[in-house]
């Protein structure tokens, strides 16, 4: 039976065998059918328990450094911590430079910390199907805090709202376009705003402006939680404990209001949507390659060819996955 080895990996992963966890994560980011086999096992009767925390915000604002400092606190609390660090795939070469680990390598030998780098592999969102599936695996394995780092560009970052219990947006002082970013909506999604690099001189002005926006409700509160604004210097380790406390406060709020389980529900529905999306896009791309070499000229015939292929694929779906 083909699933035998997957059970084997899962059993070892449950005993925190890092190599098996690493392999399973690879399955989740390879073909949809491979991922399906893993998810089909781990999502059976599994009630989610992990606190999922999303970090987003402009490149260079210090997300990776902040996460690393936060991990120090979580280690003291005896938590098991997973980091999913997502970086964009280059649309031209389809390669990726995954450099978030640079800031986190001090934790690489800690048995209670697992860090995995992920590239978006051409998916429109910052959060791919693989990223969400990985959250489910770490949750299944009993990790307490799952930290997701995504690059804060574009509308698709709002995906993180469907996945994370707590969303943190990091920014830094003296970024010319920052206000535009703010207005564009990327910054409207946070439960906690962090102005990092507050060791820099210009920081007070930016802080006051952000504070004004929150106080005047220019950037909104969600589900009755008024977003917090914190000043940190990840480099100096300042404000990190306050950040940790604010995250816990938000978690308590979520739990008391019933949003904790609601989010898990939403996350799993998002997973199904992303799974189907990826499966269909993969299939469509495959058929498109074939269409390119076919001698069909008009729009409706071309559409018909692709439509029939997809219809057939959906009818035979069980056999493919």
């Amino acid at each position: 039976m083909i699933e035998e080895y997957i059970y084997d990996y899962i059993e070892k992963a449950e005993r925190n065998d890092k190599r098996s966890i690493g392999r399973l994560l690879t399955f989740l980011e390879s073909s949809p059918s491979q991922a399906f086999k893993v998810l089909n096992i781990i999502l059976r009767n599994n009630v989610g328990k992990a606190h999922v925390i999303g970090f987003t915000g402009i490149p260079g604002s210090g997300k990776s450094t902040l996460i690393s400092k936060l991990i120090h606190h979580y280690i003291k609390d005896n938590y098991k911590i997973a980091v999913i660090a997502i970086d964009p795939t280059s649309p031209l070469s389809r390669g990726a430079f995954l450099g978030d680990r640079i800031r986190m390598q001090e934790h690489s030998l800690n048995p209670n910390v697992f860090i995995r780098s992920v590239s978006t592999r051409g998916l429109k969102g910052g959060l791919s199907f693989a990223g969400v599936a990985m959250v489910e695996l770490f949750d299944y394995l009993g990790y307490n805090k799952i930290l997701i780092e995504t690059v804060g560009v574009g509308q698709a970052e709002t995906d993180i709202m469907n996945i994370a219990h707590t969303v943190i947006v990091a920014t830094m002082p003296g970024v010319g376009d920052e206000i535009q970013v703010l207005k564009a909506g990327v910054m409207e999604i946070a439960d906690i705003y962090v102005l990092n690099k507050s060791d820099k001189e210009e920081s007070q002005k930016t802080f006051e402006y952000l504070d004004f926006l929150i106080e005047s409700r220019e950037i909104g509160s969600r589900i009755g939680w008024k977003p917090k604004l914190l000043k940190t210097s990840a480099l100096m380790g300042q404000g990190v404990e306050e950040l940790r406390n604010s995250i816990e406060e938000h978690l308590d709020y979520c739990t008391s209001q019933g949003y904790f389980d609601h989010k898990i529900n939403l996350r799993r529905k998002t997973l199904v949507k992303l799974f189907l999306e990826k499966t269909l896009i993969d299939k469509l791309s495959e058929e498109f390659e074939e269409l390119k070499s076919m001698n069909v000229e008009d729009f409706s015939s071309q559409l018909n060819i692709l439509r029939k292929k997809i219809e057939y694929f959906l009818r035979e779906f069980d056999k493919y996955i």
């Binding site: 392999r23 690879t26 389809r94 430079f97 450099g99 030998l109």
Partner: protein, 131 residues
């Protein structure tokens, strides 16, 4: 994965290799400078990498690579191919290869050659893993 092993803090060369591999369509995990052999192995395991590239400028390449390979064996992942670059003298190559390093690139090696090696090494490694 590309890592800078040892105490020397310069990583220009390692970064150039990482960029070139990226431009060739690979996903490159970059660990930064001053990594220990233990860190390199643990990172390779968590990231489930196909190939490990190591840059050493400190002169301690033989002892560092020995430790690295020992660690790989301890953890049962010695099937991951390793290539080494940096300031490696020609005369040291036989000994380094005997330790179990798959490939050594001398200073001045063309970047194309490195890309081609990594591509082939990754394919070979993937074919070895049954699943």
């Amino acid at each position: 994965m590309v890592a800078k092993l040892g105490l020397n803090g310069h990583d220009r060369g390692a970064k150039i290799v990482a960029r070139v591999l990226k431009d060739a369509g690979m996903e490159v995990i970059y660990t930064g400078v001053r990594q220990t052999p233990e860190q390199v192995v643990e990172t390779a395991i968590q990231e489930d990498v196909d190939v490990i590239g190591v840059s050493i400028l400190s002169g301690a390449h033989i002892s560092l690579m020995k430790k690295l390979i020992e660690n790989l064996k301890d953890k049962g992942v010695e099937h991951i191919p390793i290539f080494l670059g940096g300031t490696i003298p020609l005369l040291d190559i036989p000994e380094i290869e005997k330790i179990g390093v798959d490939k050594v690139f001398l200073p001045g090696t063309s970047l194309n050659e490195i890309v081609k090696y990594v591509y082939d090494a990754a394919l070979k490694k993937r074919m070895k893993i049954r699943d």
